[in-house]
Amino acid sequence: MIGQTVNLEAAVASFYQPLYRFAYSLTRNEAEALDLTQQTFLILTQHADQIRAQEKLKSWLFTTLRREFLRIARRQSSYPEVEFHAGQHDAPSAERAGDTAADAHTILEALDQVEEVYRVALKLFYLGELSYREIADTLEVPVGTVMSRLSRGKEQLRAKLASLETGVDPKIITMPQRKRRSHE
């Protein structure tokens, strides 16, 4: 136990895979996803006392991971680094394991094409396996907003997937959105 309510071992066992998947969907880079996942658990050990109830742990972990991702993204946009890119090197494991894994790759591509405002809710839902309440906690938005984002996001995802699989550009009519910041 590292805090009053947090058992790190149990937290790792329960959440390392969905956290890694979510991280991978954000970074599309295995090494960076590993770093983000580890960093998230490291922060957990530093701030475990902030978690007042065990049922909030999952949302807290995803919130932390996303904040770390945004922090790193901001820093990298200020200090760009030369990285070794997948295009030049081995493809990530998700892209290497045949048709079903290629399907995962297509889905990630389609998710990345969904409007930003819906995208992160969908990623938390599908990759993080979060409930709508946990997504609301993570994004700090009302439950109704999450439902609406999931509903519209899924419509877009369906259309984008069909487009990627058939090569036909979907015509999606969406409600006008207010301008949002550029990171997820």
Binding site: A31, T45, A86, D90, L127, V146
Partner: protein
Amino acid sequence: MNNETAKVILSAYRHDGADAQDPLFTDALQQARLDPELGKWFEEQRAFDHRIFQAVQRIEAPTSLKEVLTAAGQGLKARPRPRSPVPWLALAAVLVVGGLLLVGPLGVNRSRNDSLAVFQTDALAMLSGQPGPKLDLVTPSLPATQAYIAGKKGPLAPALPATLKEMNTAGCLVTEWHHYRISVTCFLMPDGQLVHLVVLPRDALAGASLPGSFQTADGWRMAYRERGGMVMFWATRAPMNEFRTLLQS
């Protein structure tokens, strides 16, 4: 509630029924049972969700990640609460070491008797890092990699197969393994696959006898060569016949 509202609510319902007891869904679920059109939409939605969930489950963290994180937790539990430095430094140390084993440079102290097995495991772990090992220098030029390795006092390959001399590289790195300097050069095959060459002094594998034949493990094709006091370890995920042809050229 009309069907459009029910659809918005049911969009948040997880395909595996994890939300079945949540009262927020009760009315919408009931409506889906009674209204054939909504029911059909809901079934399609769940099938779509199921497909997405199934597909993304195939994105898996390396099993070593769980081991590293769990080891970190055990390390904390085993120690009495230190006054200073703060406990998370212990975890940080474990995570950093674990991280290095997962994706970074090689090396921890282990028995000399299994030095070859340890080297191979460490080398493959490094080469398996995604999207690849962190290269110090990214360049298509073999002479540029050789100049870089020499400049960093890393070991150079005493000999290279003729075909590889003509190939582009992805780049190279110089690091340490068990206090020995080693170099890694990644050759880029025409089809985009990589052939990695790790060079290290023979002394680093003292006492170990090198396999004379081609090896396979975990999707890797491997070979060892020894010349001029250096060991050359070749590894690739390319098919064995291509690998064999390359090294025998």
